[in-house]
């Protein structure tokens, strides 16, 4: 009898754990990573490896410095830093110098995550912060890499520019079809964002595993596409290119849906993802460059505000209000 556990109800718990959720996210990212390596070669794999290893090592070193025993760190390792590492790697061009992903991971984990209290306490998405940190610091070096596999329509040489820039410049023949954009063939960009089909596959996996709600990425992507259409004088031809270009799908499925930095209520989430969509479309139109990461960063900062004012109404609450006014 002495081994009995004495605790508060409930005494049974679901099999859902933080670790399992994070492992699911890692699995969902695998197809996009593989496609990144196919399109951009061994450099892509190296970049990913550097980003992941430095993210995990950074967390371990930080916690060791905080005098947590190594055994405990291993026990409490919840794969969140692994996810951050993969996302940082996916946001790097494949031909980048080795220390750039390392610095991005360091910034993401040490500064954004651990300094603010570790898992669940980061105020913005660490991977986004890491990406923006290096993109501002090393902007000259960060030219999108050219894919090794060319466009399947075959009539395009090298444009060097991301597909996104071509939507807004009438007359520029990008030569990339929507199918190219969807498959990532011939598309330049950071290594994880170009193959939309792989990203969507990961997204479907996450929805099936109930890690994310399909509504949220859908709202973000649809609002971006439709608002771009509106801004271009209801030209529906820009709908597909606008949603298939740049980092929108990667951001919408894997970064904006980050639990910690998205609202907690249904209404809050609708506001948040709609706002992200509107900002993405609007700023892209103004700046003619990719803005998804900046928009998500800005959105993350608004989340505490949204959560402060939008709170669920308890079941049966309205009746009480009515009675009080009588």
């Amino acid at each position: 009898m002495e081994q009995l556990v004495y605790s508060s109800s409930p005494h049974i718990k679901s099999g859902r754990t933080t670790k399992k959720i994070m492992i699911d996210v890692c699995i969902a990212l695998v197809p996009a990573c593989i496609m990144g390596c196919v399109f951009f070669g061994w450099n892509a794999l190296l970049t990913l490896a550097i980003a992941v290893i430095s993210a995990v090592v950074c967390e371990f070193v930080y916690r060791l410095c905080c005098k947590v025993s190594f055994k405990q760190i291993v026990q409490e390792f919840d794969f969140t830093s692994l996810v951050t590492g993969i996302l940082v790697g996916m946001n790097m061009p494949a031909n980048i110098d080795w220390y750039v992903p390392m610095l991005a991971s360091f910034f993401a984990i040490a500064v954004v995550k651990m300094l603010f209290g570790g898992t669940g306490k980061n105020f913005v998405n660490p991977a986004i912060a890491g990406r923006i940190f290096v993109f501002i610091s090393f902007s000259a070096m960060l030219k999108p890499a050219q894919a090794l596999i060319g466009s399947i329509s075959g009539d395009v040489v090298s444009t060097g520019a991301t597909a996104l820039q071509n939507i807004f410049k009438p007359g520029t023949v990008s030569g990339l079809t929507n199918l190219d954009l969807f498959l990532g063939t011939g598309v330049a960009g950071v290594l994880g964002e170009t193959c939309k089909v792989a990203l969507l596959l990961g997204g479907v996996y996450l929805v099936i595993r109930k890690v994310i709600d399909f509504k949220w990425p859908l709202i973000y992507i649809a609002v971006t596409g439709l608002f771009t259409v509106c801004l271009n004088g209801f030209n529906f031809e820009v709908f597909l290119p606008s949603i298939l270009s740049g980092g929108l799908i990667l951001g919408a499925i894997f970064m904006a849906t980050d639990y910690v930095t998205s609202p907690n209520t249904l209404v809050g989430n609708i506001i948040y993802f709609t706002l992200l969509g509107l900002l993405t479309a609007g700023l892209r139109q103004l700046k003619h460059q990719e803005v998804v990461s900046y928009v998500i960063l800005f959105g993350n900062l608004l989340v505490p505000l949204i959560d402060k004012y939008i709170v669920n109404k308890p079941f049966g609450e309205h009746k009480k209000v009515k009675e009080a006014t009588k």
Partner: protein
Amino acid sequence: MKSFQGGVHPSDMKFLCENMPIEQMPIVPDYYVALSQHIGSPATAVVVAGEQVEEGQLIAKASGKISANIFAPVAGEVVAIEKRKNNLGVLADYIHLKTSEKQSVVVFPKLTDLSKEKIIERVEQAGIVGLGGAGFATAVKLSPNKPVDTLIINAAECEPYLNCDNRLMLERADEFIEGVRLLARALNVEKIIIGIENNKLEAYNRLLSYEGIEISLLKKKYPQGAEKTIIYACTKRKVPTGGLPMDVGVVVDNVATAYAVYDAVVNGRPLYKRVMTVSGKGIATPKNIEVLNGTPYKAIIDFCGGLVGEVVKLLSGGPMMGLSLSDDSGVTTKTDSGLLALTSSEANTMLPTPCINCGGCAKVCPMHLMPMYIDFYALAGDYETAVKYGAMNCFECGSCAFTCPAKRPLVQSIKLTKMKMKEKKK
């Protein structure tokens, strides 16, 4: 299929003893009858040490409006009125009875005048309380001070493992329905709804044959059997926050309560025994048994073949809302619907990790609260803000803590907030 918004889907584990017929638990040598087996003030003992009592004799009288009479479960001698630890680990008064060899029973006369007043009087005399777990005096519930038009019988039995209500409906359907009709008569209502989850189809089909009673098939989901959720599922009425079912014209009673009313009115037997489920993978032969009040848990476990495997939790009641026991020294009360022994494969004893703000707890909360904020503020000692996020509206169903991927003890934080606010009021 009728349901409510929110809720969780724990594995119901009913198969362990779903098909075990109700067995009579044999008489044991010693009984410890608690004076507090209900919500409200404890009953006052009316026997003294050394006195001989008969089965069904009044041994403690209700001591206030919200209280209940308590009866001797067996014929025997009162050894002492002593202090024992109750299930919460607090010292309380118990009447210790030593069973005598010769058994004799006293009962009330059969009630022939089935008027509203007489039924309520008998329910009060017989010490009937809500047997679903809360233990609220049924007689008080039957005299609402607001107009009531519907009686809902809660047959959802949404707690995993428990089968006692299901077995009662299957094996004693006529008696149960008779009890339901008596309750409706006492309330003077026409509309009777029995809410039953769709994992008890055998009982559902059985009940369909009774006329004048609406059988509502509810979706199997926890906490379908909570008072406010079953009212919403059956009638779409929303009980206001801080209100009672009678505020929306409804009275809810449990299956076992209805059966107890039948027993008291027709057979004249006061409430001193009930059906309970003894289950869990830690019990050698899970059973549904009819036990007398005050039976030691140890005797029940022995009757069911003892403990097997690595038992990590012993529970009184269901696994979602039941109480964790520190040992097997406790005794049964009127409200015990289950005694469970969970092994390490069933009970999750993982330590909490940091909240990742997934919002799962808010999504499943049947009261639409935000447990993550309540937990956050309660742990920071800011109980007023925790109350703003609805801590007082929580009925502690445990859906939030069940679903939490970080395994945070959310219900514990809410209970703490409630306790601190109560202390503050004093």
